[in-house]
């Protein structure tokens, strides 16, 4: 349905909301070529030689940070990791001051994770370097949605017309927001499900089917995407107990049988086994959870490659 864009507009990847369907297709197609690089004996190409990428992480992350770093190294970029515990932030420096100081060392791309929604947009307006959003607050996590889409497309050959069920904590999840933008732009039929206390207000207005019955969401689905219950937010009293949550919303082998026979099970990690997903499902034949991790590297390589070639865009003040 969508043709492929020749390039990405702009120097940044701040969210899926800003992308067109043809830009998404361009990233996914480029990621297919990048995936082949990871299968070679020498897993490295010289495309970003001489480019500097800074990974600036204000929140703990293992998977995403490692994935970006592997992607950068496979493209031959020079990478720097700044973890906030060891930086001047503990001395009280603001995000913009930190970024301006880093920018003085002329990096080409800054990969940013921050606990505040919109932090990446703020930085993108301030910095000449391209900004890649690696998760900002409860807003977006675009590369996660792209790798989810890549994984679905790899297994199903398309996104258009597929039924995708997203189950879990919809309120706090930036993965969920990015996925909704992406899947609806690409023409998938999205069903979302979770406790009413964990649903954002106005959810039914964004073009998705909403239900609190997990069986209804999963029935006939081509892909089931489980979201993490953020245990650190349990104090909010969103539901009575983890045990009850598992009984009502957890992905059990019985519930999986309601989906299409070739349905795939996805989870962005880190998983809470026995809370949102049963171990038999997470480790079962339908699970593509580890493929998602492998595909994350390919998708991030594609994003970095496409942005690094964007050249000298003027920062919009």
């Amino acid at each position: 349905m969508s043709d492929t864009a020749a390039r990405l507009r702009g120097k940044d990847l701040l969210g899926i909301a800003d992308l067109t369907a043809s830009e998404i297709t361009l990233i996914l197609d480029t990621a297919e070529a990048m995936k082949e690089v990871s299968s070679r004996p020498i897993k490295k190409v010289p495309a970003l030689r001489g480019k500097t990428v800074i990974n600036l992480f204000y929140e703990p992350s293992t998977r995403t940070r490692t994935s970006f770093e592997v992607a950068e190294k496979r493209l031959s970029a020079d990478t720097l990791n700044i973890a906030i515990g060891t930086s001047s932030v503990v001395k009280g420096e603001t995000l913009i001051d930190t970024a301006l100081n880093l920018e003085a060392m002329s990096p080409d791309i800054i990969v940013l994770r921050h606990a505040s929604s919109g932090a990446c947009h703020l930085l993108a307006r301030t910095c000449k370097a391209g900004i890649v959003n690696a998760g900002d607050g409860m807003h977006e996590h675009p590369t996660q949605a792209l790798l989810d889409a890549f994984t679905i497309r790899e297994r199903k050959g398309r996104l258009q017309g597929l039924k995708v069920a997203i189950v879990g904590d919809l309120l706090h999840s930036r993965v969920f927001r990015s996925n909704i933008y992406l899947l609806t732009k690409m023409g998938a039929e999205v069903w979302v499900c979770g406790p009413p206390t964990l649903m954002p207000a106005g959810i039914e207005l964004v073009g998705v089917h909403v239900t609190t019955r997990v069986e209804e969401a999963v029935e006939g689905a081509d892909a089931i995407m489980m979201l993490r219950i953020q245990l650190e937010r349990m104090e909010g009293g969103y539901f009575p107990s983890l045990r009850e949550y598992f009984q009502v919303f957890g992905m059990t082998p019985e519930r999986v049988t309601l989906a299409k026979p070739d349905a795939i099970i996805m989870h962005p990690g880190p998983m809470n086994r026995g809370v949102e997903i049963a171990s038999e499902v997470a480790d079962g034949p339908a699970s593509v959870i580890l493929d998602q991790v492998a595909n994350g590297v390919a998708v991030r390589m594609a994003v970095l490659y496409l942005l690094a070639g964007g050249g000298e865009h003027e920062a919009v003040a």
């Binding site: 020749a6 480029t30 297919e32 020498i42 480019k51 690094a308 070639g309 964007g310 050249g311 000298e312």
Partner: protein, 182 residues
């Protein structure tokens, strides 16, 4: 728009090159063909089919995308990045005689990139180069082992290779670059 080669001429030329490859390598044992994307790939496939007829067995054939190895990749200040496509080399190139195949040899920069890309896959015992057209104007010390047709050109001219698999018909033409005719 002078036509340099038509379908028949391209066919005869590839048959001749296939015979030269067999002669030079004394058979097709340990031989593999690697086409440079985009139009080197169908040419490599056609050569493989001819070699099968001559020598009686299959010659492994792969496709190489050199985009990530280009020396002009990050040079353009603004503008689209070239689209990256899949490299498909489903065999080991270690110790093999690799015949690299491309449509037009011009500055030599594509082949330089292809050599770098290929060597990241292993250590072939030799790399030989087939081109359908050599138009001169080399900027690097690179030479083809098998040439379909040598065509003296000026830099204001361009060679268009059209192949049935991609373009619907076989034809090689010599054209003036738009806007430089005056």
């Amino acid at each position: 728009m002078p036509i340099l080669m038509d379908s028949e001429r391209i066919g005869r030329t590839l048959t001749r090159i296939a015979h030269e490859i067999v002669e030079h390598n004394r058979g097709v044992g340990d031989l593999a063909l690697v086409g440079v994307r985009t139009r080197g790939v169908p040419i490599a496939r056609r050569l493989a089919a001819i070699l099968r007829d001559i020598a009686g067995h299959e010659v492994a054939t792969g496709a190489l995308d050199i985009t990530l190895y280009r020396d002009d990749l990050m040079k353009a200040a603004v503008g689209p990045q070239p689209i990256v496509r899949r490299t498909e080399i489903p065999f080991s190139i270690d110790g093999r005689h690799i015949v690299l195949v491309d449509d037009v040899l011009y500055t030599g920069r594509t082949i330089r990139a292809a050599l770098d890309a290929l060597i990241d896959f292993g250590r072939p015992s030799t790399i030989q180069l087939v081109v359908l057209v050599d138009r001169g104007h080399r900027e690097l010390p690179i030479k083809a082992d098998y040439v379909g047709k040598n065509v003296p050109t000026s830099r204001r001219e361009t060679i268009h290779v059209r192949l049935a698999e991609i373009d619907g018909e076989d034809e090689v033409t010599l054209d003036q670059i738009e806007g430089e005719r005056a």
